[in-house]
C-alpha cells in the first residue's frame, strides 16, 4: 500500500468513527427518547412539557441541528489534519 493510500484509509476510518458516534446520538434522541421510551420519559416534566412529548416534537429537532454543525467542525479539523482542505 502506498503512503498516499495509507493516508486515505486512515482518514476514512476516522470519518467512519465520527459517523457511528453522531448517528448513535441521532438514533437515541428520535427513536429512543421520542418514540420507544416516550411513555417512560413522559413522567418527567420540563415546565409545561412532558419530556417524551417534548423530545418527539421539539428536542430531537434541536439535537439534529447541533449534530450537523458538530460534524462540520469535526470534519474541517480532520481535513486539515490530513491536508485534504483546499485552502
Amino acid at each position: 500500500m502506498s503512503e498516499k493510500q495509507k493516508k486515505a484509509t486512515a482518514y476514512w476510518k476516522e470519518n467512519l468513527r465520527y459517523l457511528v458516534i453522531l448517528l448513535t446520538i441521532w438514533f437515541l434522541v428520535s427513536y429512543g427518547a421520542g418514540i420507544m421510551f416516550k411513555d417512560a420519559l413522559n413522567s418527567i416534566r420540563l415546565g409545561g412539557f412532558k419530556l417524551g412529548f417534548w423530545f418527539a416534537q421539539q428536542g430531537s429537532i434541536y439535537v439534529f441541528v447541533i449534530l450537523i454543525f458538530v460534524y462540520v467542525r469535526l470534519m474541517n479539523k480532520l481535513d486539515k489534519k490530513y491536508g485534504y482542505d483546499d485552502d
Binding site: 486515505a8 482518514y11 476514512w12 470519518n15 459517523l19 453522531l22 448517528l23 441521532w26 428520535s30 427513536y31 421520542g34 418514540i35 420507544m36 416516550k38 413522559n42 420540563l46 415546565g47 409545561g48 412539557f49 412532558k50 412529548f53 417534548w54 418527539a56 416534537q57 421539539q58 430531537s60 429537532i61 434541536y62 439534529f64 441541528v65 449534530l67 450537523i68 454543525f69 460534524y71 462540520v72 470534519m75 474541517n76 481535513d79 491536508g83 485534504y84 482542505d85 483546499d86
Partner: protein
C-alpha cells in the same frame, strides 16, 4: 386597508421580486442551468434548500395535521428534519465530490450501466411528478381563498410564474428566487405564530409558549389534554398510532428525505465539499425554525378552535367561520338540531368537520390579527408552493434533457441543443403539473406519501452502497432498486388503493392484514431493508465492479480537489 387589498399588494410585490431576480440571474450555459454555475455560497444554498424543501405541505398543511393528530404528528416533525442528518453525514459531501449534475448521473456512472441510469430516471420522474402536482394544488387553494379568483385561474397564474423563472433561469434563477422565497415564507409563518403565542401565553417565542401557561395559570398542554379527552378525542400528548408504525413512518420519511433528488441536487451547486456539509447545516437550521414553530401553532390552533366552536350557538360564529364554510373546507351539520356546535370525538355525534389544510390559513383570522398579517400568510403559502414546484421541475427537466436525451439517446447533442431540450422539457412538465393541479387525481395526498416511500425504497440504498461499499456492483444495485420499487408499489396499491380487493372502499378493512402492523406510509422502511438485502445478496454471486469504478469510490471519499461540477 382591507384584507383583499393587502393581499393583492403583498402577493403582487413578492411576484414582482421573483420575476426581477429571474431576469437578473438567467442561465446561459448547461452548467448554470443544472447547478447554478457551481459557485453558490453555503448560506445561500442553505436558504434555497430550505425553501426548496418546505413545500405547500409544510407551510399550509403540516401544523393542521399535527393539530388533529397530536403526538402522532411527531412522525412528520422528526421524519422531515432527521433526514438532513443522514443527508449531511452520508450523502451530500460525497455526491458533491463526485461532481456531476443529477442523481441518475451518479447512479449511472457509479454502476457503469445505462440500465441503472434509466431505472434512476424513472424513479426520479415518478417521485417528482407526484410531488409537483400537490404544489400546484396548494397554489390554487391560496388564490381561490385570498384573491377570490377561481382555483383553476389560480393554478394557471402559478404555472406562468414558475414557467417564467424555471425556463429562463434554470437552477441559477431558481436558487436566487428560492433565497427570496425563504425570507418571505419564514416571515409569513413566524409573524402570526408570535402574535398568537403572545395572545395565549404571554410568551413571544412560540416554542416556549407551547410549554407555557394560559391566563388561568394552568399549562397550555395540560389544558388541551383535558379538553381533548373531555370531548372524546385521543389525548393530545398521547397518540393513537402503534409504536412500530410510528417508528416505521418516521424512518421512511427520514430516509425518503435523504433520497429525494430535488434536495440532493441542491448540494451540487456549492463550490467545495466542506461547503456542501456546511450548507446542509444551514438548511436544517433554517428549516428547524419553521418545524419547531409548527407544533406550537398546532397546539394554539386546536385550543382556539375548541374554545371558539365547541357548544357555541352556530348563529354566534364569527365572520371567518362563514368565510371558510363558503370554500367548503369547513362544514357544520346540525345533527341533533339544537343550533349549537357539537365538536366531539364520536363520529356519529360530531357536527363540525374541519379540513386540516385550513388551520394555518385561518389561524390569523381566528386570532383576530390585523389584515396585513392575513395577507402575509397568503404570500408565504405561495412562496412555499412555488419554490418547491420550481425545484421539482428542474429535476424533471434535467432528467429528461441530460440523462435521457444527452446520455442515452443522443450523446452528440451540442451544449446549446441540450440547454434548449432542458427548457422545452421544463415547459412541458409545467403544463402537465398544472393539468394535475386543475384536475387533481383523488389520490394526490396518498401519492405524496408514496413519493417518500419510493425514494427510500429505490435511491437511498443504491447511493449509500455506492459510497460506503466499494465492491458493490451494478447487478446488485439494479436488482435492489427494482425489487424495492416494485415491492413498495405493490404494497401501496394493495393497502392504499385496495386495487386487488375491490377498490378504495376495501382499504379500511385491510388494515388487519398490514405486514408487521406497518401502514403504507411507513412501508418504505421495509422496502428499503429488502432493497439492501437483495442488493447485497446478488452482489455476492456476481462479478465485482471494474478497477476504475472502485477508484472512483476511493476518489469521492477524499474531500480535496473537488473542482466544479462538470459534464464529463
Amino acid at each position: 386597508m382591507s384584507v383583499q387589498v393587502w393581499t393583492y399588494l403583498l402577493v403582487g410585490l413578492s411576484f414582482a421580486l421573483y420575476i426581477g431576480i429571474a431576469i437578473w440571474s438567467r442561465a446561459g450555459s448547461t452548467k448554470e442551468y443544472y447547478v447554478a454555475g457551481g459557485g453558490v455560497s453555503p448560506l445561500a444554498n442553505g436558504m434555497a434548500t430550505a425553501a426548496d424543501w418546505m413545500s405547500a405541505a409544510s407551510f399550509i398543511s403540516m401544523a393542521g395535521i399535527i393539530a388533529f393528530a397530536g403526538y402522532d404528528g411527531a412522525v412528520y416533525l422528526m421524519g422531515w428534519t432527521g433526514g438532513y442528518v443522514l443527508l449531511a453525514l452520508l450523502l451530500a459531501p460525497y455526491l458533491r465530490k463526485f461532481g456531476k449534475f443529477t442523481v441518475p448521473d451518479f447512479i449511472g456512472e457509479r454502476y457503469y450501466s445505462k440500465t441503472a441510469r434509466i431505472v434512476a430516471v424513472i424513479c426520479a420522474l415518478i417521485v417528482s411528478f407526484t410531488y409537483v402536482a400537490g404544489q400546484m394544488r396548494g397554489v390554487g387553494i391560496v388564490f381561490s381563498r385570498f384573491l377570490e379568483v377561481d382555483i383553476n385561474t389560480g393554478v394557471i397564474i402559478g404555472m406562468v410564474i414558475v414557467l417564467f423563472y424555471a425556463v429562463l433561469g434554470g437552477m441559477k434563477g431558481i436558487t436566487y428566487t428560492q433565497v427570496a422565497q425563504y425570507c418571505v415564507l419564514i416571515f409569513a409563518f413566524m409573524v402570526p405564530a408570535i402574535f398568537i403565542s403572545i395572545q395565549m401565553t404571554g410568551n413571544p417565542i412560540p416554542q416556549l409558549g407551547m410549554g407555557g401557561t394560559v391566563a388561568d395559570g394552568t399549562y397550555l398542554l395540560d389544558k388541551l389534554d383535558g379538553l381533548t379527552t373531555e370531548l372524546g378525542f385521543a389525548e393530545y400528548t398521547d397518540g393513537s398510532k402503534s409504536l412500530v408504525d410510528v417508528f416505521a413512518i418516521t424512518l421512511a420519511l427520514m430516509v425518503g428525505t435523504a433520497g429525494l433528488p430535488h434536495v440532493i441536487v441542491r448540494f451540487f451547486t456549492v463550490k467545495r465539499v466542506k461547503d456542501a456539509r456546511k450548507s446542509a447545516g444551514w438548511a436544517l437550521l433554517l428549516i428547524a425554525i419553521l418545524y419547531t414553530t409548527a407544533p406550537a401553532v398546532a397546539v394554539f390552533a386546536r385550543t382556539n378552535l375548541i374554545e371558539t366552536a365547541s357548544e357555541k350557538e352556530y348563529a354566534s360564529m364569527p365572520q371567518w367561520f362563514k368565510n371558510w364554510e363558503e370554500t367548503g373546507l369547513l362544514k357544520f351539520d346540525d345533527k341533533n338540531g339544537d343550533g349549537k356546535i357539537q365538536y366531539v370525538g364520536a363520529a356519529d355525534k360530531n357536527e363540525l368537520t374541519v379540513d386540516r389544510d385550513i388551520m394555518v390559513l385561518a389561524n390569523p383570522e381566528i386570532a383576530n390579527l390585523p389584515a396585513w398579517v392575513i395577507a402575509l400568510v397568503a404570500a408565504g403559502g405561495l412562496a412555499a408552493a412555488l419554490s418547491t414546484a420550481a425545484g421539482l421541475l428542474l429535476v424533471i427537466s434535467s432528467s429528461i434533457s441530460h440523462d435521457l436525451i444527452k446520455n442515452v439517446f443522443n450523446p452528440q447533442l451540442s451544449e446549446k441543443g441540450e440547454l434548449w431540450a432542458a427548457r422545452i422539457s421544463a415547459a412541458v412538465a409545467v403544463v402537465i403539473a398544472g393539468y394535475f393541479g386543475i384536475n387533481p387525481p383523488g389520490f394526490v395526498a396518498a401519492v405524496v406519501a408514496l413519493a417518500f416511500g419510493l425514494a427510500a425504497a429505490s435511491f437511498f440504498p443504491a447511493i449509500i452502497l455506492g459510497i460506503f461499499y466499494k465492491k458493490m456492483n451494478s447487478k446488485g444495485a439494479i436488482s435492489g432498486m427494482i425489487v424495492g420499487l416494485l415491492l413498495m408499489l405493490y404494497y401501496m396499491l394493495k393497502f392504499k388503493f385496495g386495487l386487488f380487493d375491490g377498490g378504495k372502499d376495501a382499504v379500511a378493512g385491510l388494515q388487519g392484514d398490514w405486514w408487521f402492523g406497518i401502514s403504507p406510509e411507513g412501508f418504505g422502511t421495509i422496502a428499503m431493508i429488502v432493497n439492501f438485502i437483495v442488493a447485497l445478496t446478488v452482489n455476492q454471486f456476481t462479478a465485482e465492479p471494474p478497477e476504475e469504478v472502485q477508484d472512483i469510490v476511493e476518489h469521492i471519499r477524499i474531500p480535496s480537489g473537488a473542482g466544479e461540477a462538470s459534464a464529463h
